[in-house]
Symmetry: C2
Subunit: 318 residues, 2 copies
């Protein structure tokens, strides 16, 4: 109902709409219109009310609620269903549970904060108010071995969106972090349910420090607010990410990672540097040459031998 | 409590034990002993009761209950916890749910029948009474791309167990079926929850047609009862599978699939044959040469080119 009222405001752009007109168009009483206006105000919408003129939408809130995320969202399916929460243990856990119960591709889960935000390998992701905590349900027709590529595709989508919305030169640290300089501003956690040779669903979880007070964040982290001038709109960034992720996933599903690799290279903070990689208690050190068509990091060891790294934690020697 | 009484019978082998002795040893009344004897009889245990002599265990039931599966089971952890049900939708679904809630490696789920037994790629697995429906929770330290090998390891464990217990020449059809001649007697469904580069848990689901009336099974299927002489003990076969699976998984975790590959080759119904493979709407046809160290099927196409097949449905031209 709130959404219908917002749509009527939208049709009238910056002009006043009378309570009578809204009540006629939606077929409910003027008292009921007033009640819904109150609800919208409670959600953070600024709505002027002037006798004889009616109501006017003055400002939309920068909140991750369905009404805002879906407003002029240009995706085909991603974000068609938005499940928004004040607080969750983990948006990935909630999205995973929904996907297990059959939730379709494109549904997303967002929260204002996470109590047990998750990072890779069972680590925490500190998730205070002011960040974007977004999990997307995808059902790509791929094998489990290909799922690491989804993380790289998502990293490209998120990195390009951050650049476009904020103007900040965000970079990708292989495999799943978005960096500004030496500090982490975003992490991506991909989880899946799969059979031996078929993925049932993938949850792409994206955590971004937007306006979060940097005092609450680890020393190795920063926020977009701190790194950029001007206020960042969480809603605008979220919408851009959804549009970019859908576009890049369509390209990936059609052409594979190969087509996205060039863009990945452009954003890479890893290639061309001396790196140390920890993986399953094994340490590798060398010069990061490239990412191959399977998403593996190609490293030239000191011995001259080239090695493909499929997963691990990277430290970059600056 | 029932288990404690069974243990006392075990200590006395084939001899009578007086109700007084049991009651003393366990510290409860003779009326209570009698009640538990009744419970055991209800579970299928044949127990003689003779005045002045006491109770004697005459026969154990061939039922997949914890008391029987764990009796003289020689595994280190697999089967340490047995969750047994009369009927489930799917033992894999129940095991998956338990693993998500943190159930440890080694717990198993068994059911007398499944209402919605699952096969690969969303297919059904017809699961009437008389079969073994067993799902094992494993937490191997592997990457998602390695999970297909677990299916091959499980196939070797199950195939060797069927051979040992029944004497039937069971064979493995790549990747996940156990065959007797041209007919399927067992299917293996491996499912997992994973991050991009780390498996959280794997559920190895094993469905075997043991004594199931073959009338209830598809035409392409058979049962161990039909193919072998003499009665097959579901309990003995289940225990052997648990022991063999644990042993083979230990070898796999330590040495990789390479060490198990020779045994796999010995049991293979696929190698050396002309095969047709359907995978993701793609058809491949050729001579099945080998399975490689990654578990891929190596096929020589008519053009002479060798191709590695990572997944698919195989038809063997006999």
């Amino acid at each position: 109902m709130d959404e219908k009222i917002l749509r009527i405001f939208g049709k009238h752009d910056d002009n006043y709409v009378s309570g009578e007109e809204i009540s006629k168009e939606l077929g409910f009483s003027r008292a009921s219109v007033w009640k819904h206006i109150q609800t919208l105000r409670h959600l953070g919408y600024e709505i002027d009310a002037v006798p004889h003129l009616g109501y006017k939408l003055v400002a939309r809130p920068d909140r991750l609620i369905p009404e805002e995320i879906q407003y002029k969202l240009s995706t085909r399916s991603l974000g068609n269903k938005v499940l928004a929460y004040e607080s969750l243990d983990s948006t990935n856990n909630t999205a995973y549970g929904l996907a297990e119960k059959g939730e379709k591709e494109g549904a997303i889960v967002v929260a204002e904060r996470q109590k047990k935000g998750k990072g890779r390998q069972g680590r925490n992701w500190i998730s205070p108010n002011g960040g974007i905590y977004l999990s997307c349900i995808l059902r790509p027709d791929i094998e489990p071995r290909e799922v690491a590529k989804i993380t790289l595709v998502a990293a490209v989508a998120v990195c390009s969106s951050i650049r476009e919305i904020t103007g900040v030169s965000a970079m990708i640290k292989w495999p799943n972090d978005i960096m500004i300089g030496k500090k982490k501003v975003c992490g991506i956690l991909t989880e899946m349910k799969a059979e031996q040779d078929r993925v049932d669903f993938v949850i792409v979880g994206i955590g971004i420090n937007v306006g979060a007070a940097t005092g609450n964040l680890p020393k190795t982290a920063t926020s977009l607010a701190k790194e950029s001038e001007g206020k960042i709109s969480k809603v605008a960034l979220t919408k851009k990410i959804l549009e970019s992720l859908e576009e890049h996933m369509a390209l990936f599903n059609k052409e594979g990672f190969g087509k996205i690799r060039n863009e990945w290279r452009d954003y890479s903070a890893t290639l061309g540097h001396h790196v140390k990689i920890h993986c399953h208690n094994e340490k590798t050190e060398g010069h990061a040459l490239d990412v191959d068509k399977d998403g593996a990091l190609v490293v030239r060891l000191d011995s001259g031998i080239q090695k493909r790294i499929l997963s691990g934690d990277v430290t970059i020697a600056h």
